[in-house]
């Protein structure tokens, strides 16, 4: 395996949590729900995904349950912010706290103190026949775990959903001008709630990916700020699935590159190298991104009978 190939393979592997969490953020955001609980939901997804896989056999079950639990949190966010119009930011932070607490608490209750933590098998690489034998691209893109394919497929589906379907047309209108959407019979509350739920489910999947790829077990702090970065990434990608995919490649690429530089023995303090991804992101934004647009109603609650909410 050439060095380039292995580098790119690492990048693609590292993209997955960014893709899933940022697409989740984007999906909810395009419907106007600004979720800020990514970091917590990813931890919850990691913990639940691991524990369920361990206790009920099989990563698939773990992933499904993690997505459901995450989805429940997202549903709650959507529900209280539409039904009671509670502040999205506050609820999001409350959910961040709650999810973080529950994640560790669950592990503590189920596993407890041990020097031999139980493990789940990590995801196997699935080679796609034919495609995986393309030079460079094959091993990079088509010899990965099922979650990698899932992340890309989800991105493609989201693009299709948002821009090619009637549901997408309605969905985006809810995040742009809910009053207009409402006046045409689009169910604003339902759209928001489900987008929020589905978005949070993706975030939980992003978290569940970590134990199933990097560790085989849940470790505290394994999310390590990637949830917060997912928010940045949603802005970076202009709240569009296609650019979020590109942005994930950029973020993951910078993350892996930063370490690569150290391995290559470059004599720069590693602290500076670790800043590289963030500084580079800002530089790219400065020079390349005049396009960044955010959903006009992002983070605001819609009240049909209020005069101020449009």
């Amino acid at each position: 395996m050439t060095e380039v190939t292995s580098f790119l393979q690492l990048v693609v592997t590292a993209m997955v949590p960014f893709i899933l969490a940022a697409q989740g953020t984007m999906l909810a955001g395009r419907a106007g729900v600004f979720n800020v609980a990514q970091e917590g939901l990813m931890m919850l997804g990691a913990s639940v995904g691991f524990l369920v896989s361990l206790k009920f056999g099989g990563n698939l079950v773990g992933l499904v349950v993690a997505a459901l639990v995450g989805g429940f949190f997202g549903w709650f966010l959507g529900w209280v912010t539409t039904r009671f119009r509670l502040d999205q930011f506050v609820i999001g932070l409350a959910l961040f706290f709650a999810a973080t607490g529950v994640a560790s608490l669950l592990y503590k209750v189920v596993i407890g103190v041990t020097l031999q933590p139980p493990l789940i098998p990590t995801l196997d690489d699935v080679s796609i026949p034919l495609l995986s034998s393309i030079p460079v691209l094959g091993p990079v893109l088509f010899q990965q775990s099922a979650m990698v394919y899932l992340a890309f497929v989800v991105s493609g589906l989201l693009y299709w959903l948002l821009y090619r379907t009637n549901h997408g047309l309605k969905l985006r209108s809810v995040g742009e001008n809910p009053k207009a959407a409402d006046s045409l019979g689009v169910n604003v509350a339902r759209t928001r709630i489900w987008c929020s739920a589905a978005g949070a489910a993706l975030m939980a999947l992003a978290g569940a990916y970590l134990p199933m790829t990097y560790t085989g077990t849940y470790t505290e702090g394994m999310v390590a700020g990637r949830g917060w970065l997912a928010i940045a990434l949603a802005f970076f990608g202009g709240w569009r699935p296609q650019y979020i995919l590109l942005g994930s490649a950029f973020f993951a690429g910078m993350e892996v590159l930063a370490l690569r530089v150290q391995v290559g023995g470059l004599d720069v303090p590693h602290q500076f190298i670790s800043m590289l991804p963030y500084v580079a992101t800002l530089l790219v934004m400065m020079f390349a991104l005049r396009f960044a647009r955010i959903p006009a109603f992002l983070g605001r609650n819609y009240d049909r009978e209020s005069r101020t909410s449009h």
Partner: protein, 537 residues
């Protein structure tokens, strides 16, 4: 309150009306917006809904459209009682509504805005091209031409209006509600809209047409319902009524009616002689207070929107600028008020050059600006009336004590303004957003006048205002001129311009293409200039 017009009601009521609303009541907290209102709309008719600001017209129609839930009352359509919980129900029952503030997704194309909310199939992809053809076909049928592929943010107000109507037609509405559709339109556009309304009625639909403008109701409506203060005060057939009677119904107070005849009759008869403003005809001798030369300003997209505009305004003069919306008026108004930076050109007030200075300097120098979009540019919605009246003067000496704002003085000023400008509000600490459009405009005027402006720029100052409020604006504008201000009135309402202005300039494509003086006004001719059809020498 019983009205003499009730006898007419039974006369105009068709045997089985298309729509009947009965005893609708709606409150917003302490405000009773609708107090048991009835409305009956017959088949194939344009039904006018007339009333002043805050009469409850919009609220009543929002109830019909399912946007508001009534506290009491029933709706009957085609003889069957229906329950309308949300717009989805309304649409399903064949009700379409064009809202006062357009409800459009700015980033969407015309087609996307129109098909939004329907059940078009998504698999394998939504077929917008097919729908665009349908829309094009509809728009030719009803004379509502618009490019289905254009992004609505790029459309003029008139075209946006058409999109709104097309939305309803596309859904096969039986009853089409238009909430003050003409406030944003030029005379030509109004005519074309009325043509379309007739076409719509001819195809078997009914139209509810909300307006303040008696002239318009007389032009297009078959039947009229007049509302005041959340009540229906009468329903009359157009043929059996007169503008004065309608004004009486709307205003509800005969003394008042005589004071607003100017507005009521604007554009219908020759301008009434104005008493009480005799000195204004001497303006030609007054000194030129404002001199504008060679102004070039760009629009938000960075394209030059005004070209080399030069003009001057004398003290005491009301100079009008006529033009179809989107011909650089916004940019001109903002450039002349110091809000938008100019590319080149000079503006001076009383000999003091203002070009290039920050907005605050213009304000201090005596330039006051009443923007066209009062909600967007005029008020701080969540802040109180007191705070709104301080806006722009916060750095001046009037409301300051040391480094701090003197809120006591600001409140006194607000209370005085509320009285002087007859602002209807529970108190001075009411947030501006809770007020009706007319009252918001009064706040903006109060603020502008309290600056004692040397140069007053008014952009569409009466758009969407009811008769008393419009009259109020007219009176205040004249008063400012009489006090020696140079007044620039940019308006799309020709009636208004010919009524108020000593001189009218016509803009087309950001250039001044004609000038007319009082006495030589001919609306038809000015309309031609506005359409860019005639170059004046």
């Amino acid at each position: 309150m019983t009205d003499s017009t009730d006898s007419i009601d039974s006369a105009v009521r068709a045997p089985r009306p298309l729509l009947h609303m009965d005893g609708i009541r709606k409150t917003f907290g302490p405000v009773v917006a609708l107090d048991g209102v009835d409305l009956t709309v017959g088949r194939n008719e344009v039904h006018g809904l007339l009333g002043g600001n805050g009469a409850g017209k919009t609220t009543l129609m929002n109830v019909l459209y399912g946007l508001y839930r009534p506290d009491a009352g029933t709706v009957t359509l085609d003889g069957a009682e229906v329950v309308i919980r949300d717009p989805r129900d309304a649409i399903a029952h064949g009700i379409g509504m064009v809202h006062q503030n357009f409800l459009q997704v700015d980033t969407y194309s015309v087609t996307e805005n129109i098909v939004l909310g329907t059940d078009l199939p998504s698999w394998p992809a939504i077929n917008l091209r097919g729908e665009a053809e349908r829309i094009a076909e509809l728009s030719t049928r009803f004379g509502l031409t618009v490019d289905p592929g254009a992004t609505v943010a790029d459309l003029s107000v008139g075209l946006r209006q058409r999109v709104e109507i097309l939305k309803a037609l596309y859904r096969g509405a039986k009853v089409l509600v238009l909430d003050e559709p003409t406030t944003n339109l030029t005379p030509q556009e109004v005519d074309s809209l009325f043509g379309s309304l007739r076409a719509i009625v001819d195809e078997g639909m009914s139209v509810v047409f909300i307006t303040h403008k008696i002239r318009e109701t007389m032009a297009v409506c078959d039947t009229l319902t007049v509302m005041r203060d959340g009540r229906r005060v009468g329903t009359v057939a157009r043929r059996a009524t007169t503008p004065t009677e309608l004004a009486g119904l709307m205003v509800g107070d005969d003394a008042m009616v005589s004071r607003v005849t100017e507005v009521v009759t604007a554009g219908m008869v020759a301008p009434v002689a104005r008493e009480g403003a005799p000195s204004t005809y001497a303006v030609s001798d007054a000194p030129e207070r404002v001199v504008v030369s060679g102004v070039v300003a760009r629009n938000d997209q960075g394209v030059a929107a005004t070209h080399d505009v030069s003009l001057s305004v004398r003290g005491g003069e009301v100079l009008g600028i006529a033009g179809v919306a989107g011909n650089g008026q916004v940019e001109l108004a903002e450039a002349l008020s110091g809000v938008r930076p100019m590319v080149s050109g000079a503006v001076s007030l009383d000999g003091k050059d203002l070009a290039g200075a920050p907005t605050a300097t213009w304000l201090d120098g005596g330039v006051a600006y009443v923007p066209e979009d009062r909600h967007r540019d005029g008020i701080l919605p969540s802040e109180s009336i007191v705070e709104n009246l301080v806006l722009g003067a916060q750095r001046g000496r009037r409301f300051r004590s040391g480094p701090f704002l003197d809120w006591r003085r600001a409140r006194q000023h607000a209370e005085a303004s509320i009285k002087a400008f007859s602002i209807k509000a529970p108190s001075a600490s009411t947030p501006a957003a809770q007020l009706s459009g007319g009252n918001i405009q009064r706040i903006i005027l109060a603020r502008a006048f309290s600056h004692e402006p040397g140069f007053l720029i008014l952009h569409n100052p009466t758009r969407g205002l009811d008769i008393p409020s419009t009259q109020f604006v007219y009176d205040r504008t004249r008063e400012a001129a009489a006090n020696g201000s140079a007044v620039l009135l940019i308006s799309e309402d020709l009636d208004e311009l010919t009524n108020l202005c000593d001189r009218i300039l016509v803009v087309y494509s950001g250039r001044i293409v004609g000038e007319r003086r009082r006495g030589e006004y001919d609306q038809y001719e000015i309309g031609h200039l506005m359409a860019g059809l005639e170059e004046s020498a």
